[in-house]
Symmetry: C2
Amino acid sequence: MAVSEFGLIERYFKQQTVNNPTTRLGIGDDCALLSIPAGVELALTTDTMVENIHFLANANPEWLGHKLLAVNLSDLASMGAKPLSVLLALTLPSVDEQWLSRFAQGFLNLARRYNVDLIGGDTTAGALTLTVQALGLVPANTAMKRSTAQIGDLVCMTGLLGEAGLGLKIAQGHYTCADGEAALARLHRPEPQIAAGLALREFASACIDISDGLAADLGHIAAQSGVGACLEWACLPLSPQVKHYIATTGDWQMPLGAGDDYELCFTISPAKLKSLAIPYTQIGIIDQGDGVRITQSGSTQPLSRQGYEHFSQ
Amino acid sequence: MAVSEFGLIERYFKQQTVNNPTTRLGIGDDCALLSIPAGVELALTTDTMVENIHFLANANPEWLGHKLLAVNLSDLASMGAKPLSVLLALTLPSVDEQWLSRFAQGFLNLARRYNVDLIGGDTTAGALTLTVQALGLVPANTAMKRSTAQIGDLVCMTGLLGEAGLGLKIAQGHYTCADGEAALARLHRPEPQIAAGLALREFASACIDISDGLAADLGHIAAQSGVGACLEWACLPLSPQVKHYIATTGDWQMPLGAGDDYELCFTISPAKLKSLAIPYTQIGIIDQGDGVRITQSGSTQPLSRQGYEHFSQ
């Protein structure tokens, strides 16, 4: 029997029931149909992951399914949006049913945890390329943006910095340590900071998820807000493992340049910070300076945008 | 200077101004933001085009940009939705600025014609893979579906059948004819039938766009509606060029199996057909039979789902 593209999508992904009352029509027609409640805005984002660029050819397919969805949900988190539904565009070199089944499991397990409906997609032949389009809802005029940081705001972040970067060093065999499990887990199975994004929405003046590295991502906030940012090295939330990596290698810029942490970096006025009920670390300030800088032992230097960028020359 | 992924998207695609008042935030943040009016449903679809599968390596980039958007808008047309905005995920083997500029021109020219905002995207390195997610609006509970054809309905279609199929034969060098320009244009620069979709919404009982071939696509309507469909060969709208191709080659199934026409195939009750103000051709009937059949010279035979399907074995 021919395994058609329609059959593929249906067999592995239609198992997911539609959870959201907003989903009027899911997989199986030319379009999905959503009914959007009044008073909200729709947040939309798309992220692609490509074999040998974003993951290795032998990557665990369940982790891959998880991460593909997680990086898209992370963009929703950074705006303070509640995830609603996703479309999945799969380009696959061949039909490997075991791979598909495990990929779908990782993808759908995370989708269920956040009550996200998979409402449609497309399957094509070609080099392994995975694209998700994610939709979320946010009350009108409350979404957090990159462009609204104010001079005098504090720069804060959720979670730890450089964990995924350390995980990548370990996964690539460039570094060995006995207690690297948490770092590897953060690299392979990042957690979108949805709850933090929702909690920050009332208080933060700007927000971004740390996907390309703190220096690059905070650089976006600074550039788009027309402000500067100065980080305080001693305040960065580094795990003992990352501190040990830096002590061993001297590579102190790793946590600033490495991407894939998917924590939220946000700016907030000192007055509002007091009301914040989620765990965070204050790591710097927004000022009138140029770009992103860092203070170490009393000396301040500029940070280049060292984030991971494709096609950089 | 490093040509960053952000710079790429911005340089070639941000030139498009935001046209729709529903677009609250376009390219440049973690998500785009849309404000959706009350009383409408959101129609969403995604389609991917892959080099050497959907187009040749030396394809005209302007045509490619046009076609990528057209095939997605065609899915909106088939539901009777008005196009609103799109996200674009580009995976490119390298930065070819001339290619990007021409691709963007073809994409944005079509977008402007339908007042479609490009609200976001992602650019990654890898084998050439192009994915669009398109959003449209349709008044609540009026979208045309595949699953609602009724026994006794007539099967109709817009435009001509098999034009893109003939264009493909010519483009691949499998057939030569002196007057194949229209067929080649239909293959390379298909026109999404947006106006027809909007006009049909009040009248048609079911609708699909002819992307995988009439036999396959009408087969979806039949299967999802739990009905059969019988086509009348003599009624099919074939151009003189397609008729000549069939007379020369004997390949009468080409127009039934070839995809890429992007005309609309719809079902409609005889009473409602009288009110229809757009050009169409009646090509068959919906009945209680099994699958899709065709009557030629008084003899009826089943049509297999000969549409183009990836991974078919």
